[in-house]
Symmetry: C2
Subunit: 387 residues, 2 copies
């Protein structure tokens, strides 16, 4: 071994590493757009780095925990810890702080339900953020609607977007999109970090989508849910499909001015929601004419070849019938999503191709299994509905 | 001195103290009703003690910070810190955790905007909690309504409660209550920790209040607010009154099926909101026939005798005219509120008495300057409106 050579290489690598790391942080940080009012931290720079800061004068170690990586923060003389992450993908990310082993929300941000908790979120400004920006256009309402569900023996809640046109007169009726969240998320996601209301406001104002109602409910539903507490009881089989068909849809049709035929009812979901809603749509093609699967399909998590004779009880077996009934079958995926998503959706597309079933496939550039993929998916999908 | 006697007394006191402290904590803790789904902590016992718990294996000191007092928590072998507060008043309280000097929300609870931040809340079950419980009655909607305000050059938001009757037909028009939050709170408070929607649902279902729309907006409004960032700019004079009269009310009357005369328009607020809305009501008696002041009046924080000839430009000077115009002048206060509130409201009542002005005065038993006082106040006040 030539130790001199190895030492030289190590010095070069180390120096390059250090100088790269130092020069890499561009000092153009600005407060995140989803901070609490007047909070200066967390901040984001043009590279997509997140800088967090918190006073913790007596702490031993504070870390910024984002994207599955923990970044050490450094304490100054005033007891304030500050630190930056590596560059993050554009769009919305959940994150938290680790203060001496306590995993807590950052007190600087608004809170979002995801990863099974209400926690901090950060927004890395996206190149195409204009489509979900708040603009001087007519804005619809997002209404919290609470109801008792007999199937689950529990109080449930959905958020209902009604377009600006809904309040313009008392007679016009509107088509409805049922839009579902992913696993460990809830009914708040789509109108909060999902920006569904702003996406629809902008699409409708620019005449790129027809005015529609959007219903965002909770995909977790179990029989006698009230008695289920934590991990003490094994969860029974989901009754979400029954809740959707026999409780949610009839309630919405009774409470809002909907057009209640299949041609004016669409369904879509992200991840777990894509899986659930595909099953619901295919089991009830007399009720839905549009399906959107954002980062998910019902064969998840398998990437095995799908047998259309048996998959979902053969619902895709007669390709011509599916083409006739589904006016839009829409699939979306981020280009940076990791398996099982690409392979699983890929296996589903292969099956569709074999069956001669028409579909739209959209790829969100540079995004992973995260909300920017789903904002873009909704933006694309909603523009095709009810036309 | 008889040292034996002193020693005996000290032993007795010490033993009594210890046994008192030990027996004082009753072990009937249950998870708080405003915890995140399936979270076991924080908990509350029958004495109103709050027990918090958080894993923080490497922390030096963790404290529960509630009601202006910090309570030490104790670490177990697994690195989980647990501790209890002294008994708290029944009702809703904001609180936080102190982890080695970092003041953070408890990851177990839902979050509420108050004290100028989104933070943890705890619910000590109230003896009269039934009036704001969720029940099997028709439920109204709470709608998020975003709008651009020219006066402030900023996007603003209000939440609008529409009663169940609002969606029953497309023709009926309803009276409106404008309901404001307190200082360091925002437009989310009344329909979240305030339970305004459930209070109205229950009152209306039991025929103790007439169906009405309730508008909850943000009481902070400044000219060119967009350009105000943090504490860098001295805040100009509030333009909330102008925003209410020329932006909010016309928007609500245009967007919702209101009855837009003064006899069908009420206003109320808590603390800062009581102060603001009294000024607005008295400056616009052609627009409002009902006023409610919950824990506040416009002479706040003074307890000096009020001169009706000059107070609010003499708006209370003609007692007979006020009696004729204000169908209900309503004041509420918690019996445990501290000054300046009781003395300030007291000075206002003294002035009303001198002027021969009729009013309702309600005292919330055993509550301080907190949300149970205001829930009860709304419950009382709303039952008197539009009758």
């Amino acid at each position: 071994m030539n130790y001199k050579f190895i030492t030289l290489v190590m010095i070069l690598l180390t120096n390059t590493g250090i100088s790269f790391a130092q020069s890499a942080v561009i000092e153009d940080f600005k407060p995140s757009s989803v901070n609490q009012p007047e909070r200066q931290f967390p901040q984001v720079n043009s590279q997509g780095r997140v800088r967090a800061s918190i006073a913790a004068p007596n702490a031993n170690k504070v870390k910024l925990d984002i994207g599955g990586v923990k970044y050490d923060m450094v304490k100054n003389a005033a007891g304030v810890w500050t630190g930056e992450s590596a560059p993050q993908d554009e769009g919305f990310h959940y994150y938290q702080l680790d203060i001496d082993g306590a995993l807590v929300p950052d007190p600087g941000t608004l809170y979002f339900y995801g990863a099974g908790r209400l926690g901090s979120g950060i927004e890395i400004p996206a190149s195409d953020k204009d489509f979900y920006a708040i603009k001087d256009v007519p804005h619809g309402l997002v209404s919290e609607n609470i109801y008792f569900s007999k199937l689950t023996n529990a109080w449930r809640r959905c958020f209902v977007y009604t377009p600006a046109q809904y309040t313009a007169d008392a007679k016009t009726r509107f088509p409805v999109l049922y839009l579902q969240h992913g696993s460990f998320e809830d009914e708040t996601g789509w109108s909060s970090q999902g920006k569904a209301n702003l996406i629809l406001d902008n699409l409708i104002a620019s005449k790129n989508a027809l005015p529609m109602i959007v219903v965002m409910d909770n995909g977790y539903a179990y029989e006698n849910q009230k008695s289920i507490s934590g991990d003490k009881v094994v969860r029974p089989v989901s009754v979400f499909e029954e809740v959707m068909m026999t409780e949610i849809i009839p309630m919405i049709d009774a409470k809002f001015r909907t057009i209640s035929d299949r041609e004016h009812r669409a369904i879509a979901g992200l991840s777990m929601g894509a899986n659930q809603t595909m099953r619901i749509a295919m089991n009830h093609l007399d009720k839905f004419a549009y399906y959107g699967g954002f980062s998910g399909t019902s064969n998840y998590p398998s990437s095995d070849e799908i047998n259309p004779a048996t998959f979902l009880d053969g619902k895709f077996n007669d390709g011509k019938a599916v083409n006739k009934q589904l006016k839009v079958l829409w699939l979306g995926l981020g280009t940076k999503e990791q398996n099982p998503f690409p392979d699983s959706v890929g296996a589903f597309k292969t099956m569709l191709d074999k069956q001669g079933i028409k579909y739209v496939f959209y790829e969100s550039p540079g995004t992973a299994h995260e909300w920017l993929t789903w904002r873009r998916s909704l933006h694309q999908y909603a523009s095709l509905l009810f036309k």
